[in-house]
Subunit: 308 residues, 2 copies
């Protein structure tokens, strides 16, 4: 539950933060709650998706279900967690059978059981956008559980793969591109569960990139109390060089972003894109240019927002 | 996640049920999922509330937040669970500060931390009903965890308190009764957590009464493979004798309904209202009259539905 968006949303989350004093809540500043229970450590997350904001009304409900599962499991991945199951909150009224088909596919792909949930039926007179919620429950595979707050000065910054693919995917979808492969990155993101588990023992900080690389990197920097210097050309992108700046600011790619002490090689394929410096005025320095949330980190939450 | 309502909802839940094969899901036939994890047993539930279905658009958001917490914690109560925390799924756009105030009050009353969640901001153009979701996580205080399925022939059926209070409360709200106490039972239901924990070791089956006493009793009977004979006059009601039949069919009272072997006294205040018989054609026999879901159990899901 990270503030991003309107003033009303920021104010609401500030109010919640005052309420979320339990250490497991991590101040609502992380991807997940981390709750010790006996000898186990639970990892808990709840993400919502709304028509017109996070998906297009005309999208295949099977893709919507997939993405709902994938985005929540991606949060677990960023903690190195193993999924134990999900609970679904579902508003009836679309092609519900297609939604179930996508749910079946996503849960099978990541060997995650459906444990329960709730469905509601709005009245026929209600034509507002439908919203779905999913709670994912996992168990930590490594202690301490990675957070966003652990990066130290001198650590190197790594990214597991290219960004910008979801941007191209949404464009293909909006253009009604007949080849479904062209929109796959947007429709069917892949939660990097195996990578997250492999990385958990060696990272000093980790998160998944959901709202855009630069914005999410700034969050990691703020949480850790450092500044991240990033080399633009080192960032792998899924699009043409001409669109590099856009690719760094679009979301929905679900790569893992993490820091490790210098001299250590990540145990999974990853690209070194920067380094942690002593905190300056701004959380990010991109090719020598300081950037903060008000200047140039960009924000494209749901790319579907503009198309909703 | 229990089927109740439209054909579409029933079909959807049937589809989900085929997917929910993990034993922790309990076939989606129980109030909660029950997941063993190391030496602990997790109790998980997710309930949603929608404007116009579960609450009135003009209701105080603080009451809506309270009820969202209370209904989920009531599910935990029916398992004898101790709450560990909640995750909130929230759609911005009403009096968000009032919602937080109600959340603070409910979580403080039941000593339950907010662990995380998600908020979404629909566009200003969206005027549809808002929906909220809450996931409650608890730990079992007694094994085996009570289910709906454990009632045996000869067991006695008990109810912790009166039904019909929420019916009167909604009516007071609709009539704009100036005394808030008159609508309290509907606005601020009380999850019987302490009672549930005290009862867990001695019950053979237990559930909370959310959709109406007779309908929920029928679910317990079906799950247990017995028929419940119920004496109408033994059921405590919060309304006049003239409205007894209605009180047995309205929901939202959140009493605990449970069975115990004969000859054992419940450890909390409760009223003996019936007995488990060998399964007949119908799940309920009320004052000698057989009743099933198609005849006379009634269904008033969200009393707000008709007022939405």
């Amino acid at each position: 539950m990270v503030a991003s968006g309107s003033g009303g949303e920021l104010a609401f989350i500030q109010n919640l933060r005052a309420l979320a004093t339990h250490p497991a809540a991590r101040g609502l500043n992380d991807d997940c709650a981390v709750l010790e229970l006996g000898a186990e450590t639970l990892i808990l997350t709840h993400d919502m998706m709304a028509e017109g904001v996070h998906f297009l009304a005309r999208q295949d409900p099977a893709d919507v279900a997939w993405k709902l599962v994938a985005t929540n499991l991606s949060d677990l991945a960023s903690k190195g967690a193993q999924p134990l199951g999900v609970l679904l909150g579902y508003s009836l009224g679309g092609d519900d059978a297609r939604f179930v088909a996508g749910l079946v596919a996503a849960l099978a792909a990541y060997d995650t059981p459906l444990l329960g949930g709730d469905t509601i039926a709005l009245s026929d007179a209600d034509t507002g956008p439908r919203t779905f919620g999913l709670t994912a429950i996992g168990r930590a595979t490594h202690l301490p559980v990675p957070s966003r707050a652990g990066a130290r000065v001198g650590d190197l910054l790594w990214l597991t793969g290219a960004v910008g693919g979801a941007m191209l995917g949404l464009e293909a979808l909006l253009a009604e591109d007949p080849d479904p492969e062209h929109s796959r990155a947007y429709r069917r993101p892949i939660p990097l569960l195996a990578q997250g588990q492999a990385l958990a023992p060696s990272v000093t900080a980790m998160m998944d990139v959901s709202d855009g690389l630069l914005l999410d990197a700034a969050r990691l920097a703020r949480a850790s109390g450092i500044t991240l210097t990033i080399a633009k050309s080192a960032i792998p992108i899924a699009t043409s060089e001409a669109r590099r700046d856009e690719a760094l600011r679009w979301g929905d790619d679900y790569q893992l972003l993490f820091t490790q002490p210098p001299g250590t090689e990540p145990p999974v394929l990853a690209h070194c894109i920067g380094e942690a410096l002593v905190a300056g005025d701004d959380p990010i320095v991109l090719d020598g240019v300081p950037l903060n949330e008000a200047s140039g980190l960009g924000y494209q939450h749901g790319p579907a927002r503009s198309a909703g």
